[in-house]
Symmetry: C2
Subunit: 351 residues, 2 copies
């Protein structure tokens, strides 16, 4: 990469099941120049998030798929290198959909200016960014937590799960996490203050089945489960369903365990059909399952920041970042994250 070239990662082909390195390609190309109203940003840190797996499939989803040969989508922070937008100046820190790239040109209105004096800029990718906002919105608006209730959330040390768990603790709930591996479970309890955290892997690192997770969950939730913040699906969902209390709520923002199943046309293989059991549980326990996509709710971002930024500042809400180095390592970090290899919010440092 010379002074007038940039790098980017493009989608080389659509994954068959779990993504592999060959699904991505690193490209070098000239740095584009901003037109009227646009800015050139030098990317500092890229966010890696599970939703990106969905963008790699051609199937219909809530957002368009990334086209083959196009830059992988992603939120990132960086500094303005050149501006033709009225409200942004060289040197400003910004957050926006900069993509998996070292540089990006975007309209000024697509970027949000950050104040690096208020919080480290990387927090705009995690605890004070989309993942934290997702946790806050889903818990507050759809989970409707009440003191004394019990909440369960998986991916407990991730940026969504750790936000959900900490906010629920602050509201007086019993909070039980689920995470992969003893180290993450310790982190959930010791760093994020969860009451308990259940390992969804056995001592040999293999996935435990729903029955085994359910037995431990039942012990950790003696009063049942009132809120299940759903971001994984799979065996955890199956384990949770049998323990939901009447009038329980399930905010649903992800099903990472099933992402490799692909689009609507495919199913989960040839196992038993779990839908009748799930549907019956929703009925019998009068549950509310609410799918949500955080991009529908950006108008609430100021409310989120007003409430949570001070809590982060005071240390009442803590966060953990896992920073990989170098754009060329983004695919490997992404692949590892989908398998739970990260510890905290996965970020790639670019510059």
């Amino acid at each position: 990469m010379t002074n007038d070239t940039m790098q980017r990662i493009v989608l080389a082909r659509r994954p068959q099941g779990a993504p592999v390195p060959e699904d991505f390609r690193l490209e070098t190309l000239p740095i584009p120049q901003p037109g009227p109203g646009e800015v050139l940003v030098g990317v500092s840190h890229l966010s890696l998030d599970p939703y990106m797996r969905g963008r790699m499939d051609a199937g219909k989803s809530y957002a368009a798929a990334v086209e083959l040969g196009q830059t992988m989508e992603g939120g990132a922070v960086g500094q303005v290198l050149a501006s033709q937008a009225p409200d942004l100046a060289e040197g400003d820190w910004v957050f926006g959909p900069l993509g998996w790239a070292s540089h990006a040109v975007l309209p000024g209105h697509a970027l949000r200016r950050l104040d690096p004096g208020q919080a480290p800029v990387t927090t705009a990718l995690g605890v004070l960014g989309m993942p934290g906002f997702t946790g806050w919105y889903g818990l507050t608006e759809l989970g409707r937590p009440r003191t004394g209730e019990t909440l369960v959330v998986a991916a407990a040390t991730g940026p969504v799960g750790s936000m959900v768990g900490q906010l629920a603790k602050l509201r007086g709930l019993r909070v039980v996490g689920i995470a992969g591996g003893a180290r993450k479970c310790r982190l959930a309890v010791e760093e994020f203050g969860f009451d308990a955290c259940i390992d969804h892997k056995d001592a040999g690192g293999r996935a435990r089945d729903a029955r085994s997770i359910g037995a431990e969950l039942e012990e950790a939730c003696p009063d049942g489960i009132d809120i299940y913040f759903e971001n994984v699906g799979g065996a955890v969902l199956q384990a949770v369903l049998g323990l939901m209390n009447p009038q329980g709520r399930i905010p649903l923002c992800g099903t990472i365990a099933w992402y490799d199943l692909g689009g609507m046309g495919r199913d989960g293989g040839t196992g038993p059909d779990m839908l009748p059991r799930a549907w019956r549980t929703i009925l019998v326990n009068r549950l509310k399952v609410s799918g949500f996509i955080i991009s529908d709710h950006w108008n609430r971002l100021p409310d989120f920041l007003a409430e949570v930024a001070p809590l982060v500042g005071s240390g009442q809400v803590r966060y953990r970042e896992d920073i990989a180095k170098g754009l060329e390592n983004a695919p490997a970090a992404f692949i590892a994250m989908l398998k739970g290899g990260n510890l905290g919010k996965q970020i790639v440092q670019i510059a």
Copy 2:
């Protein structure tokens, strides 16, 4: 049955799959006498409802199972034969949980007095009773219908489905029903005013698969589906899921297609697992699935009656009853109803 004996139907054994006549037993026993605060009712008409199938299983549900050897539960109307309750007199018409029996003794407070001059007493079992109330509550409170939207409901000619469809039409929605057989589909359109009704059986009377139902549904719902009032599950649910619009609502009050699967421990066999697809659809389309049990909401019954009784009186909401004769024929009528053999609200005339 002499003047001082009564008849009842008891649960003889728990069904294996679909109920059969041997699961029930007709018994003759002495007529009990009311104690202080109680009344003796001579049952006139018994309601048969799909929820009763759930009561026959031992599994945990939202209400206790009927014990073996005990009278089958059921709502019914009848006349007071003897009263030791202050507010009820001999000859009064009442509705209450009288069970599958010719006579019943109940505390006066468990009964609701009916005015036979206002509406035929059998309407307290259907259009102005629990099924109609279920349709009204689920549509109004959970479906949140808006003019111009599209609603789909199965069992379209049943007392729940016909209420949902007619109320939705009155609110300016496009209403598409699903029913079994050409006769029911005609009834839905011609009698209940549905815009269309899709037959879930083929010309030979066999169940159609989700793909086939879905293709026809797609034609009947050119703008997609905003509300799916769920009372059946099965292939209809699968067909509907692919057509739900963003921000759609699914009030869920029954899964009759799956009732014979039994309690929580059993699943739908060895087909593909539909739960990942359903969960993904809920997420991607930001659906709200709300399980509800109408008995949680009896406090809203006066609101329902105030709104709907005049509509029934004026003929804007129509109803259809299917009346079998004789308590001894209740099991056969119930078994037939679970297979869709009834046309309209299934009632058994006792006296």
